[in-house]
Homo-oligomer: 236 residues x 2
């Protein structure tokens, strides 16, 4: 029997219609969707975005993707996931792993990908539109033009890394802004990136929040969970 | 009569099936596609990618997008383009401008967008998958994970800007690599970014070129027109 294939699919930033034609075609013929068994929100949001294109009766394969400091336990879990995935592929089933945005940009899909990378199982990755590009089109703000540079960084990186990186960027995309807003605000001021900064969460959804005057926000402001900032240098 | 609407649509990196469901729906009901009148390659490539979804009989509106140093001539040209676009919108026609990759990332669409930005004409921008994410999925190389930063820069930026920017990046995406290969190679070596670097042109097409050992390429090598490099620091 022919072996099945594993597909990693980026579902884009939120609107189901921003999924690609290819992603939709694969979903329509998939046998099984892998979902994270944990309470991790990303997995269920991705599933929700893709659901208009998932035929009734498609099987669901819940797998545990735990992150903790017990490396031995994580290793064992991944051995078990690998075993289950290979078993399903050996049965000839086509499996799909869904990821918010793009699978190659800050995604847990890389775990799944690496499980099969050096085997002879077939894997295909389908790119998706990352959140920051969804936001840029939604608010009408270019991410970069001409010879300008763009820095993408998670607000969860170390303060030293954030400071060093922002010093050299024309444009910056800061993701996962949340608890460390006061620090991010001071960095944006320091590197002349605050005037043009826009902070967005839940872009395009009924409860979207778009903040434009970030210099005036109080330092103890709490951005929505997983807000994204788009900005460029004051003099651009 | 209701005014028409202008749509800016990103067609993605090359495969027509990597266009979004939304882009396809808009194209199927569009009255008119704006195309660049010049010999600029981007416009015709974008048209080619979208063509499976453009119904026969859709009108074509060729506009001149000239770049030259005679600012007065460029201004006059843009006044004329603005006049033509508004005339068509006033006739109730829905217009589409196609752009390779994403409209907000290094795209000429920003011109069109700005023509109508402060008017009461309706404009909608539809994001697309940028080339570097198409490449990342195609070659199975993550653009970034965890707390890592990504720098996107055009190889056409000034040497000082390239040097400063590469110094601070975990991952780098270098676009439009072409004539200045020797300089880019020396920068990748200097900033410990050459070991993991991959240079790709025409990803997924029959004539694609994927170069993996960039340290061994001669300094007088001529990359294909518009090659992209994906890389990360040696120690990541």
């Amino acid at each position: 029997m022919a072996k099945g294939k594993l597909y990693g699919i980026g579902v884009g930033p939120g609107d189901s219609k921003l999924m690609t034609v290819k992603a939709v075609e694969i979903l329509r013929s998939a046998d099984m969707i892998i979902t994270p068994k944990t309470e991790k929100k990303d997995g269920s949001v991705a599933f929700h975005i893709a659901s208009p294109y998932i035929p009734e009766g498609t099987e669901i394969l819940p797998l545990v993707f735990q992150m903790n400091n017990d490396m031995a336990a994580v290793e064992r879990q991944w051995e078990e996931n690998r075993r289950v995935i290979m078993e399903k592929l050996d049965e000839g089933k086509n499996l799909v792993f869904l990821t918010l945005g793009d699978p190659m940009l800050y995604s847990t899909y890389m775990y799944i990908f690496r499980v099969l990378e050096d085997t002879d199982y077939e894997v295909e990755t389908v790119p998706g539109i990352p959140a920051f590009l969804g936001i840029a089109s939604h608010i009408g703000m270019p991410v970069a033009e001409w010879e300008e540079t763009v820095l993408i960084l998670p607000a969860t990186a170390s303060p030293e890394k954030i400071d060093q990186a922002l010093a050299a960027a024309d444009h910056a995309v800061i993701m996962k802004v949340y608890k460390n807003w006061a620090f991010i605000q001071s960095e944006l001021r320091k590197h002349h990136l605050i005037k043009n900064a826009v902070m967005v969460s839940r872009a395009g959804l009924p409860d979207e929040v778009i903040q434009r005057d970030l210099d005036s926000l109080p330092a103890d402001y709490r951005p929505n969970y997983l807000s994204t900032i788009l900005t460029k240098r004051d003099d651009l």
